[in-house]
Symmetry: C2
Subunit: 211 residues, 2 copies
DNA sequence: GTCTATAGACTGATAGAC
DNA sequence: GTCTATCAGTCTATAGAC
């Protein structure tokens, strides 16, 4: 994440300080539960300054939201049409990249999913992800070829969604998992790390892509 | 869902009307975004009456939340120690039951996940789910036996989480899926329905439980 | 039990001094 | 750019009539 370096620096601009505080709080509590006063306090400024830089709470939220959507989707969009990597490499890249992102920003996926539910059309259009970007992609063609080759009963959409499901849900359900299995933070991180190796293997088994 | 029958009835009590309206709105927008005025309007009463029956917004929320947690978890708790069904039947039961629940209450899982994130310890304790209910269960013993039998590289926690992930995430990400694949509501419902058959097959393949 | 009216607290945003 | 003070609007909750 590009913002993590900044968060370690002492010489951030005020604008950056506000954005970082806002991002943290919006990700944790969502739009409705986050108060401009909380953001101002976390950024060690006052609400007047927040409005000076960002005009309104909603505008600040839109900026954070757009960045969050892009963190989640730009990578997939770019990878899907990469011609120089095979199917196996793409599967591993998706799992690795998402686990990496979520290690630094564990609340990102739930934030994005919750806020999209609140207003789907508006937010998805804002994400600047063209419709059918995956359906028409080289990635889906690669999956399709493998399906035909191995004669397995599945479609590319299911395959892609399975990769995403197996990777994202354990992150999103982290608090439940750590409660039910009595795991501390280190345990859950290790557990998710384990899946980095396992998920690609499971997907390859589904596609009969094993060596 | 026990409440669905009630929602069709014209002779609900005022208390039921308020609860139904509150459930709908809390599930859609979460605690912070839902206003008592909205609930009162949706239930066709006024805010005074809401406080008369439920004392406060927070108390009403706690009641809805407890019921929602139980809708999500009581079934699993009961099934996990059922001795008269084999592993295959249990896997199918989990997938079928969750898809059934989410067909009637599509916003339930995201609501529960979001609100748990906001305050994990308090809410999980409120759910009255004992810790380690799964780790010590007959279900996990059944998975463990199958793992040893087929010598596959996996643990019961991963298996259980895979079932849940493959089932729940597509429901939670419904708006994104329908945007990206240009599906309408009927399409996404059909798509999720398709997975009812497929998920148990994939899990059995992971466990080498195929015939 | 149900209503209207309103109290009391909170929230987002701005005016104006420095 | 940054602050304090405060306004105007909204929110939850309650008092009191019926």
């Amino acid at each position: 994440m590009s913002h993590n370096f900044q968060s370690m620096q002492k010489d951030q601009t005020t604008e950056e300080k506000i954005k970082l505080a806002a991002k943290k709080l919006f990700h944790e509590k969502g739009y409705g539960q986050t108060k401009t006063r909380d953001i101002a306090e976390a950024a060690d400024i006052n609400t007047a300054l927040l409005n000076y830089y960002f005009r309104s709470k909603e505008n600040l939220f839109n900026i954070i939201m757009l960045e969050s959507l892009q963190d989640m989707f730009f990578f997939i969009r770019d990878l899907a049409n990469e011609k120089n990597s095979n199917l196996e490499a793409k599967i591993e890249a998706i799992v690795n990249r998402y686990i990496e992102i979520f290690r630094e920003e564990p609340n990102l996926p739930l934030f994005v999913l919750s806020e999209i539910q609140a207003d789907p059309e508006r937010l998805m259009q804002k994400s600047k992800i063209p419709k059918n970007i995956l359906t028409d992609s080289y990635f889906f063609k690669q999956i399709d070829e493998q399906i035909k080759k191995s004669g397995v009963n599945i479609t590319p959409i299911h395959v892609f969604l399975n990769i995403i499901s197996l990777t994202i849900l354990p992150v999103v359900a982290r608090p439940i998992i750590s409660y039910m299995y009595d795991m501390n933070t280190t345990d859950t991180k290790y557990f998710i790390e384990e899946r980095r190796q396992l998920i690609p293997l499971w997907i390859k088994t589904m596609l009969k892509l094993d060596k």
